[in-house]
Structures are given as structure tokens and as C-alpha cells.
Symmetry: C2
Subunit: 492 residues, 2 copies
């Protein structure tokens, strides 16, 4: 690949000011070094930043943002770069602020079940730090071994256990945030409820458009007395989906209830030999946690309900090893489809749980029409679909067909009263779909808030919103979109 | 009391336009009729509105707000008027929009555990409608028989069960909102997670400053298999507080854990003969819910922990009647202090649970210095204090001394790292305390959002924020507060 030109003179001048302000070693402008930062987990979008700042302290972020504001040059914050919607894709010739060196555990307060961490701290480290106190941090994205808390806050990350425990927003109590003008503010706090406008909820999941988080206070939960996992095999996806609804309707709230279809099972078996029931058209991985007596009683109910839906195999993991293997199959499913297809494209949508069988049938019809295979992995309990669309990128037009199919599935989700993202965010990838999800008035209201935080539009511009809106316009006075899209990359 | 003059000619002209737009019967301007609406549950603040609109449909609200915006006349929305911080006190010569006729149950969806209601629907009605489906609406303020869902949304109301189940914000999935310019937008929705900025969290608890809610989608929970209540008597408040911390540290999350001190017990006994343990310096009302096996096992642990803190009586309610009596004592405590004092003033603050004994000692010192008695009722599990300050309004200076003591207690809460309100809101009463809770930068950030929603400052002005800020100022460019305070009333 040809090494691109350096940044513009204006951005290089900013880089010099950054070097003077925070130290030269933290400021990268060499195009070869910048290549690492061109994309996040959605590798199809690639944009070269002008400058990368490797922040080590909160003040590095403050100084960088202030200098960007003075120069009118946009900035994007990045954690571990594992996001799947292009939310951390740089702005061309802009500044990318990398937070992964901000890895301090600032305070551990087991008595009040709180921990204060810097944004570069890896998700799983929080639970590791909490473990000696018999506590844990609940949100567990599949990438939890590498993704950062700051990125989790930006994307409002979920995970297999968010059916019972909720999303990142439900586990963040407070945040220190650098606004787009460099001012440092505190949202939320350590008390359970705060007076005034609760801007923390709006900040969590704002995908970097409202500022940069530099410290996070998270809530810890007590480790449950018992955690047990059951694997259930079905001869049809409709039966598995029916069992999910029956279990929840019976008043059982599993810690997780994951579903995989035949193609996803085939891929997982090929990759990690997870021992899923042979001949299953669908499996459920059901995890229950709580007091031992409750877990035992509820697994009996779950088994009865699953059998009533013609489950042909139910198996509770006998030990931690077997339990880990059940989860390994599920958690490696994305990577595993690489075994059965040259390429794949993962989508993320939400539907009402009760409509799962019907939507799956519609998805199957769409896939057949597109002549593409789709492996399905769901957080079934909350209707969060992750269709993995398989294609061969050597076939002309196949990548585009896969993308089109993914977007058609999102349209299904919208029509079903669901959402275009369950946990991966909108980012660059799905911003065009926001207009299908929201009315212009609803989007204008969000833009009003974004403009209040960042009137110059420097904080991660070109993400989340379908049309960049000039701040200062009043809602209802929409003008043609004349701002250039800062995302020069295209998907596929 | 002398009947005040009618509204100004400008406001009467608006009233005529309102009559033409929505029907004369819904628009009140007769000063005698307006008296009912002068105050909410904090009766010390009284302001006569210029016009009262008794809205019957969403469109009545839209038309009213649009006409107010055109005329530049402020408006305040009011539900049942049970708020305790003056959040629904009218603006003098302004418009008061009463929502209590908007009482429709729009949709009941037990399969997805959702209900859609109009804002005037009474809190307890939601649970009544859900009961046939074995579901309930969790937030339960003490006023739940009369308070409205719209008011709950405005104040982010809590209740005895918010330790386990969270506040209103945790149970509202979506809202239809009329913004200050009359535009109708939708925040949130029925899916568990939504893309874009989550403005619903900021709206819930915004005390009417961001718009008027006209429809609310709430989340329903399954009725637990078992709900049981235990009454525990202690010889000291410190022992009771220690037991609260021990129970929660043991990993037990009670549905509710309420504490009352000797004076509150005396008042409750005098009023409702609730049979609390004789000679107790403190009682705990502990409610556990969940599967029967879990509740039984946990009550054994609770009893052991309470005995270790020298509890001298523990009693599990034998039947629904005894359980209701235990709760009657707690829920009637506010009114009951009327039996032992001519007047009282209730405050609402939050401290970290672990600091309860120390803060109680400090409160006692402050009360002695002020020569006032304080009866204490707490949501002990989440450190939410409700000191009831007793005074005799016939004694010159006593009301002011009570207010000063309440505010000194709030200062204790702030210094302890807590909050100036747990569930009653800021309203008119505590807006001066916001500057103690938040930095100027934090408050500016909230004001930025308020200004984005309502640049003309017409939606419930003079509440929540300590100094009205002219929208259009940038943060950091603070000017002297020249805007008149729309609240003409004073506390006491």
C-alpha cells in the first residue's frame, strides 16, 4: 500500500503546538505510524488521521482538545479500537486521541460497591480488581478481554448478560468528561440519584460526539452464590425461539439466554469443538445465577419448558471447564465463521423478542433472494440479533450484496418496532439508517443537544447523525447538507 | 385572604386565544378558581398563576405551549401537585398546564412487559392495570395513591423499593414530549436500547424545564413469588445503621430497608397504632422478595445479622394484614408527626450508606444547637434521609430556624459526598443548594442543554437552577443575574 502524504500544514502546525504542550513522544505524525490507527473493528472503513496523540494523563486530553478547539481542527477519541460500527474511525487530517495509556485504577470502594477507573482500563480488569471483594462489573461484551471502559461508555456496550443486568449505562454512576472546548465537567457521581439534569445517560452511548471521558465511576455487583449454564438443542429455530419466550413469560430472568442457528453451530464446532448437540438446528445457552436453591429450582422449570418445545438434549455444565466450553462456542462464533466462509459481515439489530420466529423467516427469505448464507447468533432474551452474513470477497459484487442484505435486515428490525443497533452503535456504518429509526423532529432534538455541547462540531464529527447539521440552525429550518462528510472511507 | 387581581392584560389576551383554540371550559382565569393551583405539596411556596389550562388531550398541550411561545409567556406543567420541592409552583401571571385529566391507559402489552399511559394516570393505577397479568410497576412513592406518572417522570420519583428496583428513570422506556416551542418529539421507545443520544434519561427528573410529557411507556416487572416483611427493634440508631450495612455487605439486596428513629416511632404509634417494638430507639422495616426458597433463606441470615447488632425483637409479618400494618407505620410517618408537633418541615438528602451513624450524630448535634427536635425516617439501604424537623409556628423565628436546620443537614450531605435530594427534587426550594452540589462548569453544562431545549426560558423557569442564565451566553462568560426570580413566594 502506498504511504499517503503527511497531514496538511495547518494540522502539522497543530502537531508542533501539541508537542510543546504535552511532550513530543506522545504526538505522532509519521504516516507509517499513523496506519495503525486508520480503522477500528469495522475494518472496511479506513481513514488516515493527521495526528495521533497518545494521552497519558487527563491533562494531555484537556490540552489537546483546547488546542484543537483553537485551531478549529476536529478530534476523535479512541479506546482499544474494538468497536464494530466505525465509531472510532479518525477524521481525515484531524487529531486522534488514543486513551489506552490512561489505565489507572483510581479508587476501589467495595463498601459502597464502586470503582473509579481511567478510560483505557480494559473491561475485564475491573472485574479482576473487584474479585477479591467478591464483586464484579456486569457489562461483558464479547471483546471484554481487550475492549476499554472508555469505549464501552462511548458505545453503551452490552454483552451476553445485559438481559438481566442491563447495559453500560446501568452500571456507570459518574464520569469526568472533557468537553469540546477543553472544559472539564463531572456528570453523575457516586450517589444513586442526583439532582439537576442527568446528562450522564445522554453522554453514555453518545459515541464521542459530546466530549472525551477521562474518568469513570462504575457500580459493582456482588458475585452471585451460584452461576450455572445449560445447553439445549432443538430441531428448529422456531422451537428455540418459542422456548425463550416461554422461559421469560414464566417469570424466569436468566443471566443470559443466547441462541445460535445451525450454520453458527457448524462454524463454532469447526473452530473450537465445543461439543454442541449433534444435528441441532438451534441451540440455546442458558445461564442462571443467584442463590443455589433458586438456580436449582429454576433449571427444573427451564428444562420442562424446553422439553415442551421439543428440545432433544438438555445438559447442565458439570464443572467450570464444561461451562467455559459452552461459552467458548458462543463467544468465538464471530471469528469462527472465518472457517466456513472467506469473509463475513456482522450486523446488529433489535426486535421485540416475541417476534423472533417471524423475523427469522423473513431474514431467511431475504438471504435466499440475495443468494447469501446467514449464520445467526442472538442475545435471544432481549431480541438482539447478530446475523453474520457470509460472502466471498473474490466474487464481484458480493461485498455490496452482503452490505445490502445487512441493511435490509435492519429495515426489518425498524418495521418490527425494534432498533438498528443493540450494542454496536451507529458510528459511520449505520448513520444513514437513523432517519428510518427516528422522525426528523427526534433527530433535531438530539442535534440540539450535540450543538449545545459542541457548537463548532469538532468532537467526532460525521458519526451517529445522518446529516451534519450546522449548529445555530433552529429545528424545522433544515437546509441542504453542504458540509463535507469527514469519512472518506466507504464500507467495502 | 384577599383575592388578588386578575392576570395582566397581556396574559388575559393569551387566555382568550387559548379559549378559542382549545375550548373555553378548559381555560380558567377567575382568581377564586386559580387559588387551588397556587402551590404543590410544599405549601410554603405560593404563587398565583395568570391562567390555568385543564388539558384533556395531547393537542391541548401542544396548542397551549405554542400560544405561550408566541406570546413569550412562561408555562408550568402540573400533575397531581403532590411534589415536595415546589417544582409545580406556578409562575406569577404565567400559564399553569394541568395534566390530571390526561388519564388514558393507551396500551397494555404484558408479553413485552410494557404499558403506555397518559401523564395524569395515578401511579398506583399502573400496577392495578398490570395485576391481572401478574405484573407490577416498581416505583412506589409514599404518595402513590394520588401522585401522577407525569409528575413522577418530572421528579424522577423513588420510593421505598428503589434500593432494589431503582428510580422512575429505570422504569420509563419512552416518552412523548411537547418541547417549549410546541414541537412533539419521542424520547426512548419500547426497545431496551436505542441508538443516538439518550435524551430520555436527561428528561426524566428535569422538573419540567425541558418540556411537557404527554405519554409515557413504562416497563412492568413480574410480581415476585413471595414478598415478606420483617420488623426489627434496636436499642440504638447506630446498631440499626450497622445492621443495614451488614445485611447489604452479606450480598442480600432487600426490596426495601426502611429505618425510623424513636421520635418517628412515637409519632407513628400515636397516629396509627402500628405495634412497633416498645422501647426501641430505632426500627428497621425489611422487605425481601423473590422465590420463596430464597426469601426464607435470606430472612434467616438477616435475623442472624440483626441479632449480632443487638436487635432485641425480630418479627416477620404472619399475614397480609400484619404486613400492611408494618408499612402503615412507615408510610404515615410524615403525617403522623403532626400528632406530636404543631408543624414540621421535611428534608430529603442522601449520604453514603456506610456513613449513616456518623452523620446521624452530626445531625443530632445540629438539632440540639438549634433547640429543635428531629424525627428521622430513612430509606436506609440507599442512604436517603428524610429528617422531619418539628417546630411550633407560633414561636417567632421557629419556621426560619427549622428551614436553616434543614439546609445545614443538606450541607452535611454534600460534605459526605452525597446529594441534596434523593427523590423530592430541587424545585424552588433547594435551587440555591445546587451551587454547593455542583461546580459552576457542571451547572453550565446542564444549562447549555436546557437552553438547547428552551432558548426563550419559558418551560418552568426559576426552578432547578440557582441562577437563571440567559441562553446564548457561552459557558465561562457568566454575567450577573439580572433576570427577576419568577417565584414570588418564600418558604415560611
Amino acid at each position: 500500500m502506498k504511504i499517503a502524504e503527511q497531514a496538511s500544514p495547518r494540522t502539522l502546525e497543530l502537531a508542533e503546538r501539541l508537542r510543546a504542550a504535552i511532550g513530543a513522544a506522545k504526538v505522532l505524525t509519521d504516516p507509517a505510524q499513523l496506519r495503525t490507527y486508520e480503522c477500528d473493528g469495522l475494518e472496511a472503513f479506513r481513514v488516515r488521521p493527521g495526528v495521533v496523540v497518545l494521552a497519558e494523563h487527563r491533562d494531555d486530553v484537556v490540552r489537546t482538545v483546547k488546542l484543537c478547539a483553537e485551531a478549529g481542527i476536529p478530534f476523535v477519541a479512541r479506546g482499544s479500537g474494538t468497536g464494530l460500527s466505525g465509531g472510532a474511525v479518525p477524521v481525515s487530517d484531524g487529531v486522534l486521541i488514543v486513551l489506552s495509556r490512561l489505565r489507572g485504577i483510581v479508587d476501589v470502594d467495595p463498601d459502597n460497591a464502586r470503582m473509579v477507573v481511567e478510560p483505557g482500563v480494559i473491561n475485564l480488569w475491573v472485574t479482576r480488581e473487584a474479585a477479591p471483594h467478591d464483586q464484579l462489573y456486569a457489562p461483558d461484551p464479547s471483546s471484554q478481554q481487550v475492549c476499554s471502559i472508555g469505549g464501552n461508555v462511548a458505545e453503551n456496550s452490552g454483552g451476553a448478560h445485559c438481559l438481566k443486568y442491563g447495559f453500560t449505562v446501568n452500571h456507570v454512576m459518574g464520569a469526568e468528561v472533557v468537553l469540546a472546548d477543553g472544559e472539564v465537567v463531572h456528570l453523575g457521581g457516586s450517589a444513586p440519584e442526583h439532582p439537576g439534569l442527568d446528562l450522564l445517560g445522554a453522554f453514555v452511548g453518545s459515541e464521542g460526539t459530546l466530549g472525551v471521558v477521562t474518568e469513570v465511576t462504575v457500580r459493582l455487583l456482588r458475585v452471585p452464590e451460584s452461576v450455572q449454564t445449560m445447553l439445549v438443542g432443538f430441531h428448529s429455530v422456531a422451537d428455540a425461539a418459542g422456548a425463550v419466550s416461554d422461559i421469560i413469560a414464566a417469570g424466569i430472568l436468566p443471566a443470559a439466554i443466547e441462541m445460535m442457528d445451525a450454520l453458527a453451530i457448524e462454524a463454532a464446532e469447526a473452530a473450537v469443538q465445543c461439543g454442541y448437540p449433534e444435528g441441532a438446528e438451534a441451540v440455546l445457552v442458558i445461564e442462571l445465577d443467584g442463590p443455589q436453591v433458586e438456580v436449582d429450582e429454576q433449571f427444573e422449570q427451564v428444562e420442562t419448558l424446553a422439553r415442551a418445545r421439543h428440545a432433544f438434549e438438555t445438559r447442565i455444565a458439570a464443572d467450570a471447564e464444561e461451562r467455559a466450553l459452552m461459552w467458548k462456542g458462543r463467544k468465538s462464533a464471530f471469528a469462527a465463521v472465518g472457517r466456513i466462509s472467506p469473509s463475513y459481515y456482522v450486523q446488529d439489530g433489535v426486535i421485540p423478542r416475541t417476534r423472533l420466529p417471524e423475523i427469522l423467516a423473513d431474514m431467511s427469505t431475504l438471504a435466499d433472494a440475495a443468494n447469501l448464507r446467514v449464520a445467526n447468533v442472538f442475545h435471544a432474551g432481549d431480541g438482539n440479533l447478530h446475523p453474520l452474513i457470509l460472502f466471498d470477497d473474490a466474487v464481484p459484487g458480493a461485498p455490496k450484496a452482503a452490505e445490502d442484505l445487512g441493511f435490509a435486515i435492519l429495515d426489518l428490525c425498524i418495521r418490527a418496532g425494534g432498533s438498528i443497533t443493540g450494542e454496536h452503535g451507529v458510528g459511520l456504518e449505520k448513520k444513514s439508517k437513523m432517519a428510518g429509526q427516528f422522525t426528523p423532529e427526534d433527530l433535531d432534538t438530539m442535534q440540539l443537544v450535540r450543538c449545545a455541547f459542541d457548537p463548532a462540531g469538532l468532537a467526532n464529527p460525521g458519526k451517529l447523525f445522518p446529516t451534519p447539521r450546522l449548529c445555530g440552525e433552529r429545528p424545522g429550518v433544515r437546509t441542504a447538507d453542504t458540509a463535507p462528510d469527514p469519512a472518506l472511507g466507504e464500507v467495502f
